[in-house]
Symmetry: C2
Subunit: 232 residues, 2 copies
């Protein structure tokens, strides 16, 4: 069983096919998770979460009552706490529900303290074993994590990719991409952006060692963005 | 002299008063910088950049000709390069123009490889000495950087703040905020979100030591977000 979680980030950043994503997940009997306001947003999209997690402080009393009435498994987090809602979600879906993977939506846009917290939480040694099973998806980006070793990154329909390492990297080698690199070392967190899959390639090879993780950001431009620009 | 730079990120994330920001900068004879597509976007807002930097690969021939005609100082970066456009901008404005501070706009939204690169570039030892002079601003967030030491963070009109450290932190102490903390240590990059200024406080005290930087994210919710939600 996989898990699909919706957080409370702005709808403008959601993937355009978000309804199809949750519909397909439901048909596969995967776990639908609403985190805080994401619990209401999922219902607005037509889906009742299997699991709702949060302190729910952004919900009106009536909205929370609806969540409590409809959702089988509701977990209340404490606003003064060691774990955030997202971190508690990682713990519940992997340790209790034993899901094989987790796709997180609604994590981008809006408040940057939330975004950065979510992107960095997998570096916590408690959560790092789950990192390679977690993805973040929005309308322009798919973010994945890799631990030390050799990886083949299969082609995916994104024009660009970037790689960031937290906190350091040794012997980074990329082979088979537009900009290859061999045995690169860097002792502070850094991001390489705007690399590309080669035309008609099946993917590229990535290898490195790190005490932390490498974050792979698959990204595309959006035509709509240029339309907005050109309107002016 | 201060510098104000516009990058190519989507307009939807710009601060609402972006025209007033650049107008005030121009009146103060501060340096207006357009980075790649930001050079055209600044002109669309009614401002001719003093400095334009980029490989300009996102510009049409006609747009680039306009930049070359109107902008006094145009710097061409190489797409296959050690420095990105943003990094070259840091070097030019601080080393050559000797500006006292730099506010970066248009860095958020859109492609996450760009966003993360921009947020992490100040960790490069070459740029770290400038870190406390650099700010990122968008419609919901103001991001600043602090190096090891004691700092007083004055109240600013943002409801929330988060703190992230890259790559590690020692003896983190926050005094005078909603959630205080004393002598906290963490040996991997992490973000604390959703802290708050105390009501009627003048600010809070922050102290820590780190081989890298602390990133302070001042953040607010936006009503419009909830309007979008409630429309459904």
């Amino acid at each position: 069983m996989k898990a699909y979680a919706l957080l409370g980030g702005p709808k403008a950043e959601w993937p355009e096919d978000i309804v199809e994503i949750f519909k397909s997940a439901k048909n596969q009997h995967d776990l639908l998770v609403g985190v805080d306001r994401g619990s209401i947003l999922l219902q607005e999209l037509g889906f009742i979460p299997d699991l709702a997690i949060g302190d729910f402080d952004s919900l009106k009393t009536q909205e929370l009552a609806k969540v409590e009435h409809l959702v089988k498994d509701v977990r209340y987090s404490n606003p003064i706490k060691d774990y955030t809602d997202s971190e508690q979600m990682l713990e519940v879906v992997f340790d209790e529900y034993r899901v094989s993977s987790l796709m997180i939506l609604g994590a981008t846009g809006g408040r940057m303290d939330h975004l950065l917290l979510n992107l960095m939480m997998l570096l916590n040694p408690k959560f790092k074993p789950y990192a390679e099973k977690v993805e973040f998806l929005d309308k322009q980006n798919l973010i994945k994590y890799y631990a030390s070793g050799k990886h083949f990154i299969p082609y995916q329909p994104y024009k660009y990719f970037g790689l960031g390492w937290f906190p350091e990297i040794k012997e980074l080698t990329i082979r088979g991409a537009r900009y290859d690199i061999a045995n690169y070392n860097c002792d502070y967190p850094k991001v390489f952006s705007s690399n590309e899959f080669l035309p008609r390639s099946e993917g590229f090879e990535l290898s490195f060692s790190s005490s932390g993780l490498v974050c792979l950001i698959l990204a595309r431009d959006i035509d709509r963005y240029y339309h907005i620009v050109n309107k002016n």
